[in-house]
Symmetry: C2
Subunit: 198 residues, 2 copies
């Protein structure tokens, strides 16, 4: 009973990067460096990680017994340490995936903190900033719409991902596109209201 409880709590804890790495490693064994590349290509829009943090987290995962590693000696290139999921890691990943989340993420959006206090700023400066943001979001929307699909398609052909895996990846891409469109529409609205004079 005691053990059971402790295990459960352990599984629910949200150490996102740990689970993200387990998830990626469930596709294939990889080095920390490679993992960073995959993170950039796949989940970077909603979770980023620096290499230094990835290496530290991998060490932690190995201490947990959720991954194991071996060094591959290379010529002309640095040696590499390849990490692979263990059975225990596979179980931890499933257990995490099987928990139902009943709360929403609380997002930190520093630009909105700035925006909230724009009442005291020069109207022209405010418009300049808003237009910069609009253009940035617009560019990102374009990336989601035009560039990311190619990356997803390429990976699907590369058979690392199943059809079903690709469906969920594509869905996150779609959300990215929709979210950016929402930001652009909202900024357009705000800009127009301010230009009409508020």
């Amino acid at each position: 009973m005691w053990y059971c409880q402790a295990d459960f709590l352990l599984e629910v804890t949200d150490l996102m990067l740990k689970y993200a790495l387990l998830g990626l490693l469930s596709h294939k064994a990889m080095t920390g460096y490679e993992l960073e590349g995959f993170i950039t290509a796949t989940i970077a829009h909603f979770w980023t990680a620096k290499l230094s943090q990835i290496y530290r987290t991998l060490k932690g995962l190995e201490e947990d017994g959720w991954v194991s590693s071996h060094v591959e000696v290379q010529e002309g290139k640095p040696d590499k340490r390849i990490y692979a999921l263990t059975n225990s890691g596979r179980k931890a990943l499933s257990a995490w995936q099987d928990t139902l989340v009943t709360e929403l993420d609380d997002l930190r959006q520093p630009s909105l903190v700035r925006f909230f206090f724009f009442g005291k700023r020069e109207p022209d400066d405010v418009l300049t900033q808003l237009k910069v943001w609009r253009d940035l979001h617009s560019a990102r929307a374009h990336y989601f719409r035009e560039e990311l699909p190619k990356v997803i398609q390429a990976s699907k052909d590369g058979l690392t991902y199943t059809e079903r895996d690709a469906f969920f990846w594509e869905a996150t891409r779609k959300l990215g596109e929709m979210s950016e469109q929402t930001y652009v529409a909202w900024l357009e609205e705000v800009i127009q209201a301010l230009e009409k004079g508020v």
Copy 2:
């Protein structure tokens, strides 16, 4: 010259909570406890802070000379320490506000990390989770549409905020509503696609 550079860098640094507190204190002098209430009422959807962190940050602001405090003795209630903006703090706030931001926030959305790896989960469990999220987002959309406007209206009458301040507050509310609607629409799409069988 040297000084100038150092000053500039100091001002650009993004210590969000520090500036959020300065921004709130520019309306009126307040205690840490009160500030927490205002944060919850105003910017909580895009920046949260725990009381312990607020107290620590206020201490830091006082060391910077950006706020000053005095203790007010109360009967039947704990004494309170009231913080007020200093001139130097007002300058720091303006300097921060006057910087142009040319990069987008990078959002951390743990639920999307989970979602990304749903390909390996039981289809029924996936649908259950998606419907929970849809309902949560839908409830939040309702809050933004029906409840928040009342709070904003009440504060406007309470003359702490100018018409222009209220405009920007209302705009953040609108973005919240739009974002939640986007999430709901996206989740509906995904749920439908899965129910048709993917």
